[in-house]
């Protein structure tokens, strides 16, 4: 079976073999990691150009805040969204796998979730570590 196409390929990277997706980021020589990735300059120190390089972030981390959203003009509700402190540094906000309620402190990992709109590809969401491959 072919890998599903991924929404937001500028942010999300998949590797052959079905492992957890990775996130694309940029690391400055000062150590600051930009996610989402951008090439304009380092937000911490202002360095630019060759001082910034592509990195891939593993998506394992800890959920530090989680909420259900009940009102939205375009997205079916309710849906869950959370903040995840990645083991590799940045804290990022992303949709959560809605199959089970996830509490603060839960170990999570990125997963690609098929959406109702198959043509737009699978969506990156965080899910409980161990619940996905």
């Amino acid at each position: 079976m072919a890998e599903p196409s991924v929404r937001k390929p500028a942010l999300v990277l998949t590797k052959e073999g079905g492992s957890a997706p990775l996130l694309r980021a940029r690391r400055c020589t000062c150590g600051h990691v930009s996610f989402p990735p951008q090439s304009f300059g380092c937000e911490r120190c202002g360095r630019e150009g060759g001082e910034l390089s592509d990195v891939e972030l593993a998506t394992r981390g800890v959920l530090t805040a989680v909420v259900q959203v009940y009102v939205h003009s375009k997205i079916p509700v309710p849906y869950a969204i959370g903040r995840v402190q990645l083991d590799e540094g940045p804290a990022i906000d992303a949709p959560l796998d809605g199959r089970e309620p996830l509490a603060i402190g839960t170990r999570v990992v990125g997963a690609l979730t098929p959406t109702d709109d198959a043509s737009s590809g699978a969506e990156f969401r965080f899910a409980r570590e161990g619940s996905v491959q």
Partner: protein
């Protein structure tokens, strides 16, 4: 070496005026803006021709809003500039008026905010940089995440957040310019539909129409124009900052507020214990709780107890959002920061009626704008 207001000549708010905040209506921005400006001019009891400069805070109206309504005050030839700084647009317009008068470039300057509810057009959406959450991260969700984190780390319950909305709606019930003017019980607030996380409907600010205006003057202008000095309220700090990179686990809006407020305290030679009235960017109930801590009113573990004990209610140790705040007075964008200055001025004059904080001498106005930027002013009754 940068200078604070203390190093420049003294400046005073001498006139305030508002057009009631409310649901989107057929009333044009021209009428809203003129209502607020005429009220401010009348409050100062000066002729409009004495106003040398106008800073117009607006987010939704489009270019060249100022001339389009100020011309009907009589086209005096005054300087007009438009200021857009997201939710802090009005606060930034007020800061511009303050800086013009403090520097001596104007003797009398007007800050006016006016907006009609409309879709906004943000530059950040045009950078080409996406986000994982995208449209799913509505503002209420972003602040509900903060609430979830705070409720996990501190002794804060969903009821404590709801109590902030109860207090602010009760204050707004005494404010004839507020969007909502109806008190709500704790049970009512808790039983409303949830928007995101713990935040129910009336813990989230309404965005609507409105206008607010403030006139700033020098001592020389006060003497020359015969303005009542005892109703003039001195502006003792004006500070603007923008977001830096903060450590993981810190919330940018809180850290940015902490930094901006610290500069404002230094400039005004005051501390949190001196504050009698505070207007904060309480677009969501959780924000007021977080800013209480960032302002140094209390520490994070005490904030909920402060709310439960009524310390931030009118009559408490520091009245927070006596106007009703963004939650209940409303958040029409451009007017909001100017409206905060109107409320602080009214309080420091002792003219706030049923929502008057007793013996109010020092007040602070705080706004953040998406991006993020933060503007803080401190006012003092001399």
């Amino acid at each position: 070496m940068s200078k604070g207001l203390a190093a420049l000549r003294p400046i005073y708010v001498v006139g305030i005026g508002l057009a009631r905040y409310g649901k989107p209506s057929e009333t044009s921005f021209v009428e809203l803006g003129l209502t607020a400006v005429r009220a401010a001019v009348s409050d100062a009891a000066i002729p409009f021709r004495e106003v040398q400069s106008a800073s117009v805070g607006t987010v939704t109206l489009g270019m060249a809003a100022g001339r389009a309504f100020l011309r009907y005050m009589g086209a005096t030839g005054l300087a007009i500039q438009q200021v857009e700084n997201a939710s802090a647009s009005g606060s930034t317009a007020f800061r511009q008026a303050c800086l013009e008068v403090a520097s001596g470039m104007s003797d009398v300057a007007l800050a006016v905010g006016v907006d009609k509810a409309a879709p906004v057009n943000s530059a950040a959406s045009k950078t080409g940089i996406g986000s994982l959450a995208g449209a799913a991260m509505i503002p209420a969700a972003a602040f509900a995440l903060m609430a979830d984190d705070v409720m996990h780390r501190y002794d804060v319950k969903a009821e404590d957040l709801a109590r902030i909305a109860v207090k602010n709606h009760a204050n707004a019930a005494h404010n004839p310019f507020a969007h909502f003017q109806k008190a709500r019980t704790l049970e009512e607030v808790l039983s409303e539909p949830k928007i995101a996380g713990a935040l129910t409907r009336s813990q989230c600010c309404p965005i609507g129409d409105g206008a607010a205006a403030v006139i700033v003057a020098s001592e020389a202008a006060i003497k020359r124009l015969g303005i009542a000095q005892k109703r003039a309220v001195r502006v003792v700090a004006s500070v603007a900052r923008s977001e830096r990179v903060y450590a993981p686990g810190q919330w940018a809006t809180v850290e940015l507020t902490r930094e901006t407020v610290a500069s404002a305290y230094e400039q005004a030679s005051v501390g949190p214990k001196d504050l009698d009235v505070v207007e904060v960017h309480d677009a969501f109930s959780i924000e007021e709780l977080l800013y209480m801590e960032a302002l140094g009113l209390c520490d994070g573990n005490e904030a909920a107890a402060w709310v439960r004990a009524g310390k931030t209610a009118v009559g408490g140790s520091c009245a927070v959002s006596a106007s009703g705040g963004l939650i209940a007075m409303g958040h029409p964008l451009g007017p909001t920061g100017v409206g905060q200055v109107c409320e602080i001025t009214r309080q420091l004059r002792g003219e706030a009626g049923a929502r008057q904080q007793p013996n109010a001498r020092v007040g602070l106005a705080h706004m953040v704008g998406v991006g993020q930027v933060c503007i803080v002013h401190v006012l003092r009754a001399d």
